[in-house]
């Protein structure tokens, strides 16, 4: 099929990652929220960065990876 699936995966996870990073940064001072749930770790910020890196990696793969997709 003509659509390289790495594009939608890349765009979506970059977007969601960005969303989490922004939300994590905005709520960074809300210590109560994170201590009640995620053991005091701002997982939104950290995991947002992970998703962003994954998403951008997929986009780079789609752009420069050519015909041969990476084996996961």
């Amino acid at each position: 099929m003509g659509l390289d699936i790495r594009w939608p995966i890349g765009i979506m996870f970059s977007l969601v990652g960005l969303l989490l990073v922004v939300f994590g940064a905005a709520t960074n001072s809300d210590a109560a929220m994170y201590s009640q749930t995620s053991l005091g770790i701002n997982v939104n910020l950290i995991w947002g960065v992970v998703l962003l890196v994954f998403g951008v990696g997929m986009l780079l793969g789609a752009k420069f990876g050519g015909k041969k997709p990476p084996t996961p």
């Binding site: 099929m1 003509g2 659509l3 699936i5 939608p8 995966i9 765009i11 979506m12 996870f13 977007l15 969601v16 969303l19 989490l20 939300f23 994590g24 709520t27 929220m33 994170y34 009640q36 749930t37 995620s38 053991l39 770790i41 997982v43 939104n44 995991w47 947002g48 992970v50 998703l51 994954f54 997709p69 990476p70 084996t71 996961p72």
Partner: protein, 640 residues
Amino acid sequence: MQPIHLAWVDYAILLAYTGFVIGIGFALRGYMKTSSDFLTSGRSIPAWVTGLAFMAANLGALELVGMAGSGAKYGIATAHFYWVGAIPAMVFLAVFMMPFYYGSKARSVPEYLKLRFDERVRCLNSLSFAVMTVFASGISMNALAKLLHLLLGWNYDASLWICSAVVLVYVLKGGLTSAIYTEVLQFFMIVLGFAPVVFLGFKDMGGWDAIKSKLVLVAQNPAALSLNDKTFQPDAWTSAWKPLMGGPAANPMGVDIFAIVFGLGFVLSFGYWCTNFLVVQRAMAAKDMTAARRTPLIAAVPKMVFPVLVILPGIIAIALASTPDKNYRLPPPALSSGQYSAGLADLKSGQPGDADRVTAKVSQDIGLKMDKAKMASLLADIPARHLTDDQIKDRLQNAVAENDYDGIILSLVKKYCPPGLLGLALTALLASFMSGMAGNVTAFNTVWTYDLYQAYLAPNKPDRHYFVMGQAITVVGIVLSIACAYFAHKYSNAMDVVQLVFSFVNAPLFATFLLAMFWARTTGTGAFIGLLGGIITSGLVHGSTLAEGKGGWLGLHLYEFPSSMAQNFWLASFAFTACFLLTLFISLATKRTKTDEELKGLVYSLTPKLADGDQPWILRPAVMGSILLLGCVILNVIFW
């Protein structure tokens, strides 16, 4: 259960995902020109994509939710469903069976049966498969709508129709390709959505050794968590094989080693992974033979490590529940308003000194076991502290001494996810429900269009006709799924019977395929009667044995199995053996109807061997398969 309140960021993630799957459908719309593009992806997809879709098609939400529950109930032995019950079969499919499925140019598994045997075998297989997919997608959608209703307080009907509509739009626009792409998206969603939850739980418990030390306590007194009435050796939850050695009484699954190795590891596992068109279809959509054979092998890599993501949460949950200061309990089944008012009436009419009698009465009226100590203190507190109805409701709910195993994964999500991450985890769950429906619907529309409609109702029409039929039947498939979802919602007992019947139908299938592909002498009559005989055998075995009060509907109780799981594994073993022997003997007694020339590409001994010599040695299916099996053995030894 209190509905969870979602923040704007959670909705944003949910909407982004939904937008993307619909977008993928629209982006693929232009490539759908023939029925083959729509129903079989025109055999054009690279191996890593079909591989992940192969894995994800099986990783429906029910699997996700169920495996965490089993992890709690049975501990590490649950991994047998992966390391014994999946990887060997996936390797076998890649190395030995894929060449016939892909090489025969069959467009579906039933069509392979037609090429190999005759119309009778195809008809039996395609009819039962078509009905099964519709029910499976209905069951999945019912679970989704119920979950959204319980968890988020959304309306059941609206949830069901909206989610189905989303699936309809992207499958209708992009066909199988859309479903496969969405499955890959869902695969990454699940990995990336659940990994942080598992990590947080793991960290909270203080690592693997701390969890193990808790599991030792659980094994010696599983009744404390309402897991099991019996007591076991300390390693019953932390070893995969040792508890099986002691026989059914020594492990919480209640199974023996033969049932696991032959019943699960051979019959059920090979029957599912090597013959179920839902998963095999993914590999058949690959762009060439090499990609098709690599598909199950690529899928096996994440499959092997997935227990960390799906079983470990259940194990973490029981470790948490047996650590008092973590303030966590395994979720009890949610009381309906009817159950609650029955319980409340019993409590109000009871006297504080009467705890035993009241507990028994409440248990009987609401149909669940109740914790005596909690009921006694609740009974005493009602007059003493003037509890409000809401407080009584909470405490009554808490006094239920049973577990809702399906709720475990969600209870962990609720415990560890702040807004943001919560949206991600819920989206992952929603994604797996929806792609479960899409997977079933795309398998259903192919089998209907090619194996039933084109074969029997309207042969020899132009391709355009089948393309339109493929799209029309997609709509019908979704509508039927919705109907089945309502049926499952209303008559859950009847649904159990339906699923039971399908387990009879599926149990003997692998014997038919094994003989079909590896013994040229197998005849159509042999295969057809063997398959029917196998199905009848599984019905008879179920009808004449008991397990956990189920079965024995023939009025015969020849044997009582220690658990339903053991009954299921043994039933499959009997069905397989019956089908195998019947097919064997009837084939010998009947004449072959297909010549060697006709069976070329369909039977092992009559097909030229594929030359893998042009591939780098490490990528040859046999080598990759051996490496995977070795990895599997190592994992089994580590968790011996």
